[in-house]
């Protein structure tokens, strides 16, 4: 109950920020665009033709391909843009909690420091999940109703995006507790978000470097950090109903989140406010 009240307060605090409302507005706009862009002609209860942005689509196979394409597009847009915006919108949540005069109030309540930290973390996850699933479910429903093809794999997009956000937000929480600075935490988290795909090409980087130490260093970084690019690939495969070759990027990113949260909880426990 006490943890829940911290989650609710964090949720309420996030709502007060205009970024999430903008996010919601953009999501609604995309859905409305889909409603008006995808036209179906129904003759005697049968679908006679489909047009997208005025272009006619003939075969059912082509419709399925187009549907998977649209859903993949939205999912990737959400994966990159949604995570980018969500990190931006939640970057001040932990630093604002740590403000003198605010954190004191929380600690003086019969709530453990771990609950305070988890409440804040989960509050951010809840609001981001609501935003992401709003667009995924709303757009998925529009597309499915209009085409008559129900792609349940599309729902996985929401799950993967929220989990990826969870891993990156764990890093941002750690940095915020250490530095108490929202902008600094955000900058470093963005760096990881955009730098980790480069580690996929670490073999090419090794070729340019003389010492094998760099190899161990980049390998270490690769296995330690969230694998955002590969998570994007997993997301695309799930949306397109294709088999996922390796789940390692997902579980190792989740391990990263758990590790970061555990370290953060330890530091938070020891910190003076």
């Amino acid at each position: 109950m006490k943890l829940w009240s911290i989650i609710l307060l964090t949720f309420r605090e996030s709502l007060a920020k205009k970024t999430f409302m903008a996010f919601l507005g953009i999501s609604t706009f995309i859905c409305l665009l889909l409603i008006f862009a995808l036209n179906l002609d129904i003759v005697n209860g049968m679908q006679s033709s489909v047009s997208l942005f005025g272009q006619d689509i003939e075969s059912a196979a082509e419709i399925t391909k187009i549907l998977f394409g649209i859903e993949s597009g939205i999912a990737i847009l959400l994966f990159s843009g949604g995570i980018f915006m969500s990190l931006f919108a939640t970057s001040s949540l932990v630093p604002s909690l740590l403000q003198e005069g605010y954190i004191d109030i929380f600690i003086s309540k019969p709530v453990s420091r771990l609950d305070i930290l988890l409440g804040r973390y989960l509050g951010a996850i809840v609001i981001v999940a609501l935003n992401i699933f709003y667009l995924v479910i709303f757009s998925g429903a529009i597309l499915s109703i209009k085409t008559g093809i129900w792609n349940w794999g599309y729902l996985w997009a929401g799950v993967i995006i929220v989990l990826t956000f969870g891993a990156l937000f764990a890093l941002m929480t750690f940095l915020s507790v250490l530095s108490r600075s929202g902008p600094l935490s955000l900058m470093i988290t963005y760096l990881v978000l955009f730098f980790s795909p480069m580690l996929l090409a670490r073999d090419e980087i090794y070729a340019l470097l003389s010492s094998p130490v760099y190899g161990y260093f980049f390998d270490g970084l690769y296995y330690f950090l969230p694998k955002t690019a590969e998570l994007g690939v997993i997301l695309q495969k799930l949306v397109s109903n294709q088999p996922v070759e390796s789940w390692m990027p997902l579980w190792s990113s989740m391990l990263f989140a758990v590790f970061m949260l555990a370290v953060t909880a330890y530091i938070f426990q020891k910190k003076n406010f």
């Binding site: 006490k2 609710l8 005069g101 600690i107 019969p110 003076n272 406010f273």
Partner: protein, 307 residues
């Protein structure tokens, strides 16, 4: 069981260069109003933050209501008004009490009822649905006080509770604190307003550079033994003559005479002699110094002992 008990509590900053608390031992009895006084940077807020678990001490032990300060569950019986409390501006007064009441373990109709009672008590009922950002400093302070009382605490820590509040509001808070004390609650008060502390505290402690300089009941510190302030009409020469005969020390300050007697018998004899000499006594009151004077004396006595 003491409300607060600390033994050799120490807190250092900057690798020991700044000593916020040094070997600080203190006990506070239950059901009293206790005032902690000290100049800026004396360690008053640090002390409160340590016993509430907001800051970790470098050494020593402390307990509140018989439980070690590391046990956060004891906070169920604690209320706290921070000196620089900051409630999110987008929340209404009602929501502030709702969220922090829930964190204190209150739920449902009990919480709603308590919220309304407290808003009424601090005269913010009409502002229940207004956002905190619209509140004046005094209103925020009153909301902070309501928040500190939401869980009907046994022990209440108030750090500068009358800060930003006008004289009428201050009197209301003073009355409230006395009412809470009469209900058996312990109030631990940090305040720069020494006149406020003097009026309501049962006991005080003076802190300087993290060290405890004095602790004891207020009346014992302020009463000056066997000195009385005497107000009479005119007959100054008669008074001087009688005092000289009786070997009573006489001085004059602020239009009143100050007499220093050896015992109660001598005081009564002096009164008898003055009355038989037809001296009209207007008032005779035991002399007390103000808490401010006492505080400054103690601080000056210990000037330079800090390090």
């Amino acid at each position: 069981m003491f409300a607060i008990e600390t033994q050799h509590l120490s807190k250092f900053y900057s690798r020991g260069k700044v000593k916020a608390l040094q070997n600080f031992s203190l006990t506070v009895e239950q059901g009293k109003i206790f005032g902690l006084l000290g100049p800026n940077g004396a360690g008053k807020t640090t002390f409160i933050k340590i016993v509430l678990g907001i800051i970790h001490p470098n050494g020593g032990k402390a307990s509140i209501l018989g439980k070690p300060i590391t046990d956060y569950k004891v906070h169920r019986h604690i209320g706290y008004l921070s000196e620089k409390h900051h409630f999110p501006g987008f929340l209404t007064a009602g929501r502030v009490l709702y969220y922090f009441g829930k964190m204190s373990g209150l739920t449902g109709s009990a919480l709603e009822k308590r919220m309304d009672e407290l808003l009424e008590l601090v005269k913010l009922s009409d502002w229940k649905n207004h956002k905190v950002r619209e509140f004046s400093k005094g209103m925020q302070q009153r909301l902070g006080l309501a928040h500190a009382l939401i869980n009907d605490p046994k022990l209440i820590f108030l750090d500068e509770p009358t800060d930003g509040i006008d004289p009428v509001g201050r009197r209301e808070i003073r009355d409230l604190l006395q009412l809470l004390r009469d209900q058996g609650k312990t109030i631990f008060l940090n305040s720069h307003l020494l006149s406020e502390v003097e009026r309501i505290s049962d006991e005080i402690a003076i802190l300087k550079d993290g060290r405890l300089l004095k602790k004891g009941p207020v009346h014992e510190f302020l009463a000056v033994d066997r000195q009385y302030q005497l107000k009479i009409a005119q007959e100054k020469n008669t008074l001087e003559a009688i005092c000289q005969k009786m070997s009573v020390t006489l001085s004059q300050t602020d239009g009143a005479f100050m007499i220093s007697v050896k015992n109660d018998e001598q005081l009564n004899e002096l009164i008898d002699r003055l009355r038989s000499s037809k001296v009209l006594i207007r008032a005779i009151v035991p002399y007390k110094i103000s808490l401010e004077d006492f505080f400054i004396d103690v601080i000056e006595e210990n000037e330079g002992d800090g390090q």
